[in-house]
């Protein structure tokens, strides 16, 4: 009689065999062709593996075994993206220590991996929350700092007065605090940033060298970087003489500017509203606007609102005087924080002008039409065309006019051609406990001093030493043993930075750590990385298409410039996989 397919005993048997086998255990073998298969490492949550995980790891394991059978030297490692808010929240809610919670989840998930028949070289395991890894995350931060790629500056953050804490954008719901429902304000706080904008051009241009990436991912990255070439123009505030710089991709419409709009955060707002009769209203408008998250302010659904400032400025091309307003849709962090409004040729400006009864002046016409009367307009004419009512530029085409106006602005020193990026510097400090401490010390004499290499890691104190519900500051600030230290330079009493790093930093370089192995002497082994890199197949969810991949590319470029690695594009091919749905909704288990 035939045997039956007894999958349970059969699967257990082979899982036990693989535990001891040499399958997918590799070293650098120059005689063999290498194949680096990387699946995005998971966050070790208490929920264990969901079907999305099962999918991504099944694909990774299939490819690893396939190329192994093709005779390739296959590196297929695994690790844990282990810092983050859920562990901290579990600790707050259930009193379980984040490290214990995380490590228990890792054990559980490892077991689930084995039950799915996934095979990894665990000798290369990376766990970002353990000191042997975050030591090197801290070391990398210091390299950034020493090379002027990390800096500190005051930044507007979401602030809840009731909870006395900073909130992430995602924690602000309809302008209210997620925890207590009170109104969220904007507050200036000193924050750490990485200078990713130094790399805007390379991050954009090098997308062309990635034929193995899906086009939609490259498009998303390009849009996120958001390069636009345009012209800057300086408008001069009447009487005071202050310059307001605007950026436009349509300088050909500059003769049609009928007002200027400042972001509520623009430094001139305060000055120009000082003597305004509607000072109180302006203040209220600014406060209301700043409570709204930026991405909301930029969205199409948001109602565009404005309020006049009691001031005008001079159009540098026409010499005409136009009013200045504040608008909720202008973001200070983007461009120059001020925009010129051309209602005849921009739909948003058109609607705004109609709403607030501002003048409309036509300066572009379709080359086949003579229509130039604003009274008949039902909507803005946004196409390029032929310039009219534009002084010496009249009758030029839009493209010609843009060039000529840029040249004139440059020559007469009121602006010129420029490039603008949507990408902002990366805010990396978090007022959280469960993250890698930022390894700097504040000394009264020496200022901001990076911790010495031999003192790394700056150890995260155990959770019983800190107050996680610390109001108004980072939890690490409540641990005196942590805060009080000595200056690495002069030895005087000093204080430690109490913010931790964004966990995206931990995941921006882990793919260099796998080839390095668990080397206690260095973060990255240049030669070993050179053998294995770039990652041949990177498998993961499309939800990481922007931030994680952009940050990783940024890291690779910085590390190449610092001569720590040889390649500046880490991932040769991306396999971005879809979701697993149950009755149309994302499936959890």
């Amino acid at each position: 009689m035939n045997k039956e397919y007894e999958f349970k005993s059969l699967e257990k048997k082979w899982q036990d065999v693989w535990k001891e086998s040499d399958l997918l255990k590799v070293t650098e073998d120059k005689d063999k062709e290498k194949m680096y298969i990387l699946t995005q490492f998971p966050y070790p949550s208490g929920d264990g593996l969901h079907m999305g995980h099962t999918r991504v790891y099944s694909i990774g394991d299939l490819l690893a075994r396939y190329y192994w059978m093709q005779g390739k030297n296959v590196l297929s490692p695994m690790g844990w993206d282990a810092f983050g808010l859920p562990a901290e929240n579990a600790s707050k809610k259930r009193g379980v220590a984040p490290d214990k919670w995380t490590l228990a989840n890792i054990d559980q998930m490892k077991e689930q991996f084995a039950k799915l028949g996934l095979v990894y070289d665990w000798k290369r395991e990376v766990t970002t929350c353990l000191p042997d890894y975050y030591k090197w995350t801290q070391w990398l931060f210091i390299q950034f700092l020493k090379n002027d790629l990390a800096y500190k500056k005051a930044s507007k953050v979401n602030w809840c007065n009731t909870c006395e804490t900073v909130l992430a954008n995602e924690q602000v719901k309809n302008g209210q605090c997620e925890y207590c429902d009170s109104e969220v304000e904007k507050k200036d706080l000193e924050q750490w940033f990485f200078r990713i904008t130094n790399y805007s051009d390379r991050l954009l241009e090098d997308l062309d060298n990635l034929p193995g990436w899906p086009d939609r991912v490259k498009t998303m990255q390009a849009n996120w970087i958001g390069k636009s070439t345009g012209v800057e123009l300086d408008f001069t505030v009447k009487d005071s003489g202050e310059k307001i710089r605007v950026f436009t991709t349509r300088a050909d419409t500059a003769f049609g500017v009928t007002y200027l709009v400042l972001a509520p955060e623009h430094p001139l707002v305060e000055k120009l509203s000082k003597d305004a009769p509607n000072r109180g209203e302006i203040k209220e408008f600014v406060n209301d606007t700043l409570k709204t998250a930026e991405f909301m302010r930029m969205s199409d659904e948001m109602e565009k609102k404005g309020i006049p400032l009691n001031a005008t400025c001079i159009n540098p091309l026409t010499g005409e005087e136009v009013p200045i307003l504040i608008g909720n849709y202008v973001i200070y962090e983007y461009g120059t924080g001020a925009v010129m409004a051309v209602p005849a040729h921009d739909q948003r400006d058109f609607e705004f002008a109609k709403k607030y009864d501002l003048p409309i002046k036509v300066v572009i016409k379709d080359k086949d039409s003579d229509e130039t009367t604003p009274e008949n307009m039902q909507q803005a004419f946004v196409e390029k065309g032929v310039m009219v009512n534009s002084g010496e530029f009249t009758n030029m085409t839009s493209d010609e006019g843009i060039k000529k106006i840029a040249a004139k602005a440059h020559k007469e020193d009121f602006g010129g051609e420029t490039e603008n990026f949507r990408l902002r510097d990366w805010l990396i400090s978090r007022q959280r406990y469960w993250g890698a401490p930022i390894p700097v010390v504040y000394c009264e004499k020496c200022g901001v001093v990076p911790e010495k290499d031999e003192n790394l890691p700056v150890m995260l104190p155990t959770v019983d030493k800190v107050d996680l519900s610390a109001k108004g500051k980072s939890p690490l600030g409540t641990c005196d043993d942590f805060v009080n230290t000595t200056c690495p330079e002069c030895g005087a009493k000093a204080k430690r930075e109490t913010d931790t790093m964004d966990t995206f930093i931990c995941s921006s370089w882990y793919y260099f750590r796998y080839p390095t192995g668990q080397d206690p002497e260095k973060a990255i082994d240049k030669e070993k990385v050179a053998y294995w890199h770039p990652v041949d197949k990177y498998i993961g969810g499309i939800e990481h298409a922007i931030l994680h991949l952009l940050y990783s590319r940024f890291f690779a470029k910085v590390l190449k410039d610092l001569n720590i690695v040889k390649d500046d594009e880490p991932f040769k091919q991306l396999i971005a996989q879809g979701m697993v749905n149950l009755n149309g909704a994302k499936m959890s288990k």
Partner: protein, 236 residues
């Protein structure tokens, strides 16, 4: 899921349901279908093992009976498809379909052999089929892959084995041989598909080494193609 059907079924479902970039809609029926397929493969192997010979002697493709040829051709087509789908295009779902198609053809062949008895040809075709299909299935469903491979006496792990290779000439559907004539004399023969288009056949005829040899220094006046019969090249 894993508890009910096992890891191999779970993996197979997820790899078979859609290409990687597309969303998958969970379906209990589809999962049960994957389990059924793996069980079927398992039971087919059990039956086929008695005809399996580790060192079955090679039977030339040309000499095979038409049933054996069909199975053997399908095997090579499946290897070609799976190699492209997994290694080049990363479209795992269509590779799984080709495995299913293969077993749909292999099963009646096996039944036939069980009924009428085995011979050297059957031993060769069955042995090759078992060895190569399990190597291909193994990266998808590694447990059953190891288990079934271990019965073939070829080594302790299927992952020590090499991924199978296909021969292009075995993948082509039945071909016919036609003569190439130069000025009415047969100089060469080529294999073409019965429905091969005229231009392609003429091109093949002209690029043959023998044609080149016999037309060297001469001008080709005319190429005549008689469908299914011959190519005649007129030179002077």
């Amino acid at each position: 899921m894993i508890e009910k059907y096992g890891a191999d079924t779970t993996r197979l479902f997820i790899l078979f349901a859609a290409p990687p970039e597309k969303d998958i809609e969970w379906s209990d029926d589809a999962v049960a279908g994957c389990f059924k397929f793996l069980r079927r493969v398992y039971l087919i192997f059990e039956r086929a093992l008695k005809f399996y010979k580790k060192d079955a002697s090679v039977v030339a493709f040309e000499d095979m009976s038409s049933n054996a040829k069909d199975v053997y051709r399908k095997l090579h087509q499946t290897i070609k498809k799976a190699t492209d789908d997994v290694g080049e295009r990363h479209q795992f779902n269509t590779a799984v379909s080709s495995f299913m198609e293969f077993f749909n053809m292999f099963n009646p062949y096996l039944t036939e052999i069980e009924k009428n008895g085995s011979d050297g040809e059957a031993e060769f075709v069955i042995s090759e089929s078992l060895r190569d299909t399990i190597k291909m299935l193994a990266p998808f469903c590694p447990h059953i892959g190891e288990e079934l491979y271990s019965n073939l006496g070829l080594g302790k792990s299927v992952f020590d084995a090499k991924w199978p290779e296909y021969k292009k000439e075995y993948c082509v559907e039945d071909s016919i041989e036609i003569p190439i004539m130069i000025n009415g004399k047969i100089r060469d023969r080529i294999n073409i598909a019965p429905d091969e288009i005229e231009d392609k056949v003429k091109e093949m005829a002209l690029s043959s080494d023998k044609t080149k040899k016999y037309s060297e220094g001469k001008t080709i006046r005319k190429v005549i193609f008689v469908k299914g019969k011959l190519v005649n090249i007129v030179v002077s």
